[in-house]
Symmetry: none
Subunit: 242 residues, 4 copies
């Protein structure tokens, strides 16, 4: 995974292999290809260095495109960043729609959701990084993107159904807020991966080692299912918080 961060998320087939033939032709007039090359390069750059740290020069170089083209296609740096963010969000929303939790028994449904989330994070490190970047920017771009905000996630609705079914059949505890639960499921994977550098240093473990990753996946499922599982002893749980 480590190095995947550097790569673009959806490389769209073969890339940059017709270019260097012959006598350095200016550019093959393929606007769509250029657009995509820029978006891929920008994703990699924003992931690698954050918003402020990303350089449009570098993006152009990565995309093997004249710098002027970034502005031609995407306007300014901000707009390019927004385009990157939007594509990334579309990616996860699309994947989420493939999940058919309502077809499964509650326990399996939750298990599948947890593993889906964990796997998606593992396979799309750029998404994690962009989310962090966006939060360092206080969410200002996401907020202004009606495109993303209209892209509703089907998860909460599906989860509500699953949680109700589970509670009805006595498998799950009652009164679980699907939003809180979803945030928790995401947290357990996101934090582990996103903060892997500091965690690795502090705990002196290689968090990306395949065995460690598997271990973490198992742990997350256990935490979530352990929490949800209903039994008498838990009904009386009382907690005082601030």
């Amino acid at each position: 995974m480590e190095d995947v961060v550097q790569k673009a998320p959806a490389p769209s087939g073969d890339e940059a292999d017709l270019d260097d033939c012959a006598v350095r032709q200016p550019r093959p007039r393929d606007p769509e290809r250029t657009r995509l090359a820029i978006l891929d390069a920008a994703t990699a750059e924003f992931v690698a260095h954050g918003f402020a740290g990303a350089s449009v020069n570098e993006i152009a170089a990565r995309a093997k495109v004249n710098k002027r083209m970034l502005y031609h296609y995407y306007g300014k740096k901000d707009d390019l960043y927004l385009a990157v963010l939007e594509r990334s969000y579309k990616g996860i929303r699309t994947a989420e729609r493939e999940l058919r939790l309502t077809d499964l028994p509650p326990r399996e449904a939750i298990e599948r959701l947890v593993m889906f989330t964990w796997d998606y994070f593992l396979e799309h490190p750029e998404f994690l990084s962009l989310l962090n970047t966006e939060n360092m920017l206080r969410g200002r771009y996401l907020r202004q993107s009606t495109q993303i905000r209209d892209l509703h996630s089907p998860l909460i609705t599906m989860m509500r159904d699953v949680l109700e079914r589970g509670a009805a059949e006595g498998t799950f505890r009652k009164g679980v807020d699907p939003v809180q639960l979803y945030v928790s499921i995401a947290s357990l994977g996101f934090f582990y991966l996103s903060n892997r550098y500091t965690l690795s240093t502090i705990f002196e473990r290689d968090l990306l080692d395949p065995a460690q990753l598997a271990e973490r996946g198992r742990h997350i499922v256990e935490v979530i299912l352990g929490y949800l599982s209903c039994d008498v002893s838990k009904a009386s749980t009382k907690v005082s918080t601030t």
Copy 2:
């Protein structure tokens, strides 16, 4: 909490009110005060804009100090950033040492740990932000700071003791890895706060509303204790992961 992000974490009493005395002396010859003002300003700036986005000029301006002083006291931008990071880590390590988990029964010990972590994150948003920044830098500064790495957290040791006691007396499930558990405890609070901007936008909730914060704190405790609590049904949990 929201606004705390902007401020320095430990403002060290009254600030910048001795300045305008008499006939505009160059500076109130108080090196320690200057040092601290710089560190506070730098913290605020790095928190607000990340490493690359932070401006040395702005830090000097915030600290009401000549730019040259930053270099005098801290060397270059990297070194200043490292100093900020180190102070922040020292802060949490110091707080952790106050916790006396070994004096408490297992269940209460875990509850206290969870609430401590949650409260610390709430009260030190700059720590969350710096951690994110450092991870975007792939942990390169943390790794080079022997100072931080020598600052061992007492938590893992304490937790191992608590978990063993809990397992022995039958309250907790067996075989829980204290590191995994600690990461999970941190995750559940960290992600919620750190990603509050995107989460707020997507879920259209104000995550920093006091009621919401209390709710989240309660939820985290329930998840962790629910997971740890031992009962027959859980012994058979089998999970397959990647």
Copy 3:
């Protein structure tokens, strides 16, 4: 007048209303219309921002024409500017030819000339602006335009006739240079309008207020006629200059 500055001088009838017919044809194959749209847009842009400040992109956008068309019809920016300048000069020369000063008694002839000049400036603010622009460029384009230089103004000849008739009949003073006089007539209106922004600010008057404009027109006529009018006292005027 204020807003006329923004608009093109001779809009050539109805504008941009044939465009949206049918199924978005590329362009309504009307070369002459396109030519004119470009020239109008260029005039507006050069008037609004001067030569260096004018943007070829913006001209194309204003004209609702592909940028490539500018080059197709007019060559480079310089050539387009020259075309704008030439049209503007043709405009005033054409108007000047309508004046029939030789048909009028001297006093009335001068009065008509003065008012014509003032009115023309009022109605053609783009001409004033282009003249200023051209002078900031040290007249380099005007100098290279044989077209404009061949466009002789009939005014000087007409004025010479009028001044001679006036002097002969004793109405006007003798020995007035028609060029000096023409420059003065133009000055009194041109400066007032062209420098209206700074003058308005300094004198805290709205120079474009209709009452103010009428007042200025009256003043200019009085100055010119007052100067020309012959009487004994003036014969002895002696002035020493550098």
Copy 4:
């Protein structure tokens, strides 16, 4: 005069002669000298190319100063331009205060005022150019400069006194508005000089030839005094305008 345009208005003594000694020292730490060099260079550049056409690179080069210094001392291009404009206005206001029109008999007072204005324009071509530039910018910078707006010209008050005295003693016509008259006095010189390039081309005369300049000065005085001079024939002047 022609080339004076290129030079800075107040060169502040000896300039740039200590620089090139020895081994190319970085810069003599003389902030005031640097400030002034930048202002002089900026004046020359704005005069030569207008606001949009002026290049900060070129200004730095002219001033033999690192480009970064412009921003250090003056902020952005806009601010630098404003500083140039302000200095130029201060120049003419200072000169105006030297005029002691109230000490002179009316006719001589006006004559002195006219010649002062003409001479000032001749000696400060940069002032004319800056005024034109500012008016092409629609006076936006002048308007925002409280510094200039507070710099009231003493001329209008002095002129009112002179005109009243002249009318009282029967030398001048009655009811002359000092503002209109001042604008006219300025017009007759300003337009001639400012539009000399186009005028020279159209009339095929060298307007800057010393003989021509003297002639123009004489003409302006005659126009103004001719207009002001009172006699019976003028009392009946009736003019109809738009």
